[in-house]
Symmetry: D2
């Protein structure tokens, strides 16, 4: 069974009535709840817990980490970011949601500013599937429509995705690469755009399905971590180049 | 100087008044004209010429071939398609425009159906740059707006582009990967969406700039065609694997 | 349960004693046998059967097709190639082995010559994993060593792989991109190099594991085939561009 | 004229006789010298200069920065790394050579450990071209042979390259992705493996040609830096989804 840890900053929900109304228990609890409908073992962790809830023990028992953050990216300690980064390189999957695009861990893994255009305007959006053979779109049709979502627009300053899964359309005239995968070390990463804190995106069945598919896609490959450093030759290297056989 | 051959089906312009009004000399002549403003050596070729104007001599003197076709894809002979295909594999660049997505040569190079959604509805479109560091967008801003263009929508059944340069937005709710590059053999290919025959897209200065940039990007690399077939070893292969040195 | 059809040209095994000795029942039977150890439903098909064993009914009940061919690529009928091609675009997985790189179906899907360097010299080879997070290398270490394999060398004239999984080393001084994945339409394709007919590569447990992983990776995504053709707008397109709201 | 700054750690050459013998003026001077043969404007910068020679003024006048470092990666100040990083995102090209794979700037741009296997054993190596249509291999044949080079072996812990240009073969049995390109923000990056400090790789004409081609490929695209942040709609967003036109 895939062990998932859902990490949430969990600040908006405590102070903002509009957010509390949508996610009374916190975004992490809503995500945990729909994941539990499937065969996932789920726990949660939040910023204000000791070590942000991401102790070495928790991470050692995490196959895939889901990340939601927004206003408090800078409060995440560099030490924990370094710890999560090392776990990803060693094989832990990472699903980064919505405003997590500017989290320290995502920026560290991408190497770019991860910046973008944005607008909160009660717009609907249409998330087009452009990779119909990818397991992350299993069970999803040609597009997902959300009644309300924050606009995120190009240019999105990310490295070329290994797989571009979704492109979003917004009525205000923008497009956005809203579903992207990456490989980093032994780990796999999936970024997915929906999830503004005042809109009920994580109650949407198709968004839930994509996140579940993403978690499955990100699960660690059971594979030895590669050896690095000095390496003895596997062949005799006394021979010179040429065809003197 | 880069030698460009502009190939056009040249049928709509002869029979359809609306097209004739926009491109009285044919789409190929308009493309040739703006290319000549720069340091390109330009000739044209059309379907109804002998060998569709693509004789071995013409192709031997073509660095980059531009392709526009629509209603008569099936009239292009398989022999000429095979000839152009071989030229691309040997290094000739290919710029495929608009409805050329369903040309025999593009489909043969892609290996997919190259199908898509479409609609002619006098819509405007907005072509977003998603690869700001790519030489094809040199001098282009964040987006290009066209007053009228045919809608082309996802899913566009193409292989994953080597570089995804542009994504288009349409008011009817669709998105489209409208600028894509590919490498095939020694050759480079650029697909660019604008160019419906009844809209004046090839008079647009930014569209012209993108096509010029695309031609430059597609120019052949001065590089020997690789050797294939039986290959003598470059090293002694009498040694066995192991560390017996 | 994933339904696999193992297709083999099945000619060498009938006429060449050296091959018959290694694969007395044919390469397809050996591949079928190790697949049956896992939870796959397996059937076989060969060139000399009616419709090459690839009737519409067989293909309709095939999730993943494995392809081995060598001397008789030209005897595969274009009609069957077209049929298999359509199945791949509609979602059927395809695993192409060894000399299948020059099969009509692989070349049609790639759009290139698929040519390469080769040599039969009883060489060993070492197949290095370069994508440690990919599910196709699940359970595989840093490299696979084969006592004997045909040398295949660069340049391998293929499109840029969507995922480059393995790179092979040969004692004669060559390298080869020996494990490559592609997406085409709704289908997924995996090319894997080992399998010269006179060497026992398909008895190697690690080669078997890679092929099993490859079949799992190629399984169809349960997803609607996209709609193509004329498309009614999903939004009102009466609005003009601008910010007149 | 492309303005190139060649940055070198410049430590080995001061203290190690074997290195001093090969590069008496420093690796940077040898690289600068062959670049000056072409139409490049070249300056150098080294670790022990104020601000490591990479003042804001120098970087503002640098189109492409070449980076060679090895034993003193940790002595490069985080402030300068941040400054160079920002320049790359804004469009400056970066050519990273040899042991620069573990430099702070390369690791920051990649997001991975950038680790690998290595061995100094006076081995020769063969650098195979796998992207014959790429401008970085202009004028280069099927492979480059170096009489002596440090072995760098897989797994090389880097993100999937945007273009994989070269794969190296070593007699000890290893392979290595030795020429890789990346896009980050508005900037382009080229990693190239040759250049161990005790071997004369930078006197090799083909290595020089690749570096020159790499510099040209990395030159900034004359393109506005994208806008990020809050974005007013470009279209009226009063319309609702649907087909109510």
């Amino acid at each position: 069974m895939i062990q998932v840890t859902v990490w949430n900053e969990f600040r908006h929900e405590k102070t903002d009535e509009a957010v509390k109304k949508v996610y009374p228990e916190g975004i992490h609890q809503q995500i945990a709840q729909f994941l539990k409908e499937d065969d996932f073992s789920v726990r949660t962790a939040t910023l204000d817990e000791p070590e942000h809830g991401l102790t070495e023990e928790v991470l050692a028992n995490t196959d895939v980490l889901i990340w939601w953050g927004h206003v408090a990216h800078q409060e995440v300690s560099d030490e924990i970011v370094q710890r999560v980064h090392q776990c990803v390189l060693e094989g832990m999957g990472l699903v980064v949601l919505h405003s997590g695009h500017m989290s320290k861990i995502f920026m560290k893994l991408m190497g770019t500013s991860c910046d973008l255009k944005w607008r909160e305007a009660q717009e609907h959006c249409r998330i087009w599937t452009v990779a119909p053979s990818h397991p992350i779109v299993e069970g999803i049709g040609e597009y997902i429509e959300l009644e309300q979502e924050e606009m995120y627009g190009e240019h999105f300053d990310i490295p070329t995705p290994d797989d571009l899964i979704f492109i979003s359309w917004y009525p205000g005239g923008e497009v956005f690469r809203s579903g992207c995968t990456y490989h980093r070390g032994n780990g796999k990463i999936f970024y997915f755009q929906p999830g503004h804190e005042t809109y009920p995106s994580y109650y949407n069945k198709e968004v839930q399905k994509v996140i579940k598919n993403g978690v499955r896609w990100c699960r660690p490959t059971q594979n030895a971590y590669p050896n690095y450093g000095h390496h003895e030759p596997l062949e005799s290297i006394t021979n010179k180049k040429g065809t003197e056989q």
